[in-house]
Amino acid sequence: MAQNPARTGWLKPAVFSTALLPLAWLIWRIAANDLGPDPVQELAISTGEWTLRFLLITLTLTPLRQLSGQVAFVRVRRMVGLFTLFYAAAHFVVWLSLLLGFRWYAIGEELLERPYISIGFLALLILIALGVTSPRAMVRRMGKNWKRLHRLIYLAAILAIVHLTWILRTDLSEAVLYGSILALLFGYRLWRRFGRFRKL
């Protein structure tokens, strides 16, 4: 990949700092005591939502590149993907420390007995595997297998939607919203892979 630092030098710092905004906002709310009477729950919900949003943004970058021809979109893909892992880790840490208070017996029980938690945890494991294999050196070393492994992001996205749907209690609007975006992204990929050839 040929890069022109003069043209793209600003890109990564800009995306990096933008991706930190949700974190900054959360820290601000913590400092301002603005998380309401149940701050732990609020942090868990908020970090979870941002994980899902970053996951969907990651999946939007390749289509955007293909549709617009702008290489910039894929240049920041790894970074956005790693931010997904970052917010997922924050989500996990909030759950582990603040909600369960590191009571290890409880953690084991929760993981085994609550399917929505097992599913969320599985999605996290996938994100960790993708994060660990994201450095350029790993990409080179793994060759074809890298792509195979990284297709698991689609599974992680589905698991994340299931995780969310399972938590919702009376109204599925949120799951429908995020689920439709994911369906659109899947639809685009399927259309690109199969649909176009039929037309030719």
Binding site: G36, P39, T170, D171, S173, V176
Partner: protein, 344 residues
């Protein structure tokens, strides 16, 4: 009967320091309010609230739903100073009780009910009484409340989502209301229904709602007649805000919060166990009885502990949950021969 030797000063003449201080604050605040030409009803409430365990925060100006409510709130019997009708545990502040709510008709977020309920109409209000009673009919709320003196009760509220609050309610025993309609011997259950006010309730209009509105709850007759079962029309010495179930709601402190149905428009007395909203939605998660019980596993939330609200990140109070939410002495006998793991 104990006969006490009267002392020089009657206990009632001694003003506890807490109340004395509150009076000072009240006088200071009312001077400020008067200077600002504030509303008189709020002042009247603050004044009578002095005798209560918990008055509305000073400066709170809530207008009554209708003029007659004002009279009703003039004379409220304060909570006694001991369990079970009172608890000395720290009260959850007014702003948390009124801004952290589950009232899904207004939305899913805890802040939705307080943010989106300002258009909700509570006057005129009537309750339909039907089924196995001698006096069925459609009663205006004013007539329903007329024979009942209001009293204060400070109860713990344990939500199935593993958080809890301590709330000073204003209301009257459910048993007193039920007797008013003279249930027949065939009345073994009482079923409650929440209003549907589609134009003011965004959650009801949502195309992706999975609840079959109206919200429905029920109690077995002996549960309903228990001294702890309460109908609340206010909290913190003032009228219920919409988000807390205005104008009238149930409070059953030994059961998970979702049993305490809000904004009641119908009470139906029946021979068979009624369907209830959460039980219909997810029977393996929410039983008909829904008694607070740390031993009974819930698929979604741990029930052995609870987060007592309000919390901050740096002072998080997590306390063990007690069976029947600590009201076992009053209610355990209702379930003597029942397998609580089966009838959860």
């Amino acid at each position: 009967m104990l006969i006490k030797k009267p002392s020089d000063i009657l206990p009632s003449e001694i003003t506890p320091e807490r109340i004395y201080r509150r009076r000072r604050e009240f006088m200071r605040d009312s001077a400020a309010l008067l200077a600002g030409g504030a509303m008189l009803p709020a002042l009247a409430l603050a004044q009578q609230g002095d005798a209560l365990k918990a008055a509305a925060p000073s400066g709170l100006t809530r207008t009554p739903p209708a003029a007659w409510w004002q009279d009703k709130f003039e004379d409220i019997r304060p909570a006694p100073s001991e369990e079970p009708l009172y608890t000395a545990e720290a009260l959850t502040p007014y702003q948390d009780v009124t801004r952290y709510n589950n009232f899904y008709e207004f939305g899913m977020d805890k802040s939705d009910p307080s943010n989106r309920s300002s258009a909700f109409r509570t006057d005129p209000w009537s309750i339909e009484i039907s089924g196995e009673v001698a006096k069925p009919g459609n009663y205006h709320l004013e007539d329903i409340l007329k024979p009942h003196a209001l009293e204060e009760r400070v109860y713990r509220l344990r939500c199935v989502e593993a958080w809890s609050m301590v709330i000073p309610w204003i209301g009257f025993p459910l048993a007193d209301l039920i007797k008013q309609f003279e249930p027949t011997s065939r009345a073994r259950y009482v079923e409650f229904e929440t209003i549907i006010q589609s134009d003011t309730m965004p959650g009801v209009r949502s195309p992706f709602a999975i609840v079959d509105w109206p919200y429905r709850e029920g109690l077995r007759m002996d549960e309903a007649m228990n001294e702890l079962a309460f109908l609340a029309v206010g909290l913190y010495g003032s009228f219920l805000p919409a988000q807390n179930g205005a104008p009238i709601r149930l409070v059953v402190p030994w059961k998970y919060g979702f049993k305490s149905i809000k904004s009641i428009v119908r009470m139906n007395f029946r021979e068979t166990q009624p369907n209830t909203t959460w039980n219909d939605l997810q029977a393996n998660e929410y039983g008909f009885y829904a008694n607070v019980n740390p031993e009974v596993h819930h698929p979604r939330w741990r029930q052995d502990m609870e987060r007592r609200l309000p919390q901050t990140l740096f002072s998080r109070r997590v306390i063990p949950t007690r069976i029947f939410n600590g009201y076992g002495e009053q209610v355990a006998h209702l379930y003597r021969d029942m397998d609580l793991a089966r009838y959860y």
